[in-house]
């Protein structure tokens, strides 16, 4: 089920952040954690026989069964904030490479 896959993705991302020694792989694991989190939040609001929360010419009145729209609004914000975090992290990684010529945390020394 997709909910279990979301939780397992979160756990894999957390393991990646704890164990990796390369800055790029730490940022990749952070992104995997965020994808798993978004899948899990949306899976809380899923109704089996519901429609997408949108009034159109096929779904005319509010007597139909809709999927919960509130987690989708929260995840919309979370995706954009994840992009902001990743952009700033990669700018840091680029400057670190320009100074130390490496991405590995073990080779940077104590300068």
């Amino acid at each position: 089920m997709i909910q279990i896959a979301g939780i397992l993705l979160m756990m894999l991302g957390l393991y990646g952040i704890l164990t990796n020694r390369n800055i790029i792989k730490i940022i990749v694991s952070l992104n995997i954690l965020e994808i798993g989190l978004n899948i899990f939040i949306i899976s809380i609001g899923f109704v089996r026989a519901g429609e997408a929360p949108l009034f159109s010419s096929e779904a005319k009145s509010n007597a139909l069964v809709f999927v919960d729209p509130l987690p989708q609004a929260l995840v919309l914000t979370a995706i954009v904030i994840g992009v902001g975090t990743t952009a700033l992290g990669l700018a840091f990684a680029k400057q670190i490479y320009a100074k130390y010529q490496t991405f590995e945390l073990d080779e940077m020394g104590e300068e």
Binding site: I4, A5, N20, A52, V80
Partner: protein
């Protein structure tokens, strides 16, 4: 019935791709696996009837995050070659 098979297939593929992204030795392969993980999560969002979120994640996951990673890795190759 078909939707259940599709859900299980997407879940298994998500976890396999995450394993491959974490355990590959080369950096560019990790970034490519992250990009395909993002595309597969768009499929999961569509299966859960969330079109706004699917559209936003499709545009951002493919056009923005992957691009920023590749531009960072591009700078390392150039600095190495100039010396």
């Amino acid at each position: 019935m078909l939707i259940n098979v599709l859900e299980t297939l997407v879940s298994i593929l998500l976890i396999v791709l995450a394993f491959l992204a974490l355990s590959s030795k080369s950096l560019i392969k990790s970034v490519m696996f992250l990009s395909s993980l993002s595309m597969l999560s768009v499929l999961a969002f569509v299966l859960m009837k969330a079109p706004d979120v699917a559209l936003t994640e499709a545009v951002i996951g493919s056009g923005l995050v992957t691009t920023l990673f590749v531009f960072t890795l591009l700078a390392t190759r150039k600095v190495g070659q100039k010396q």
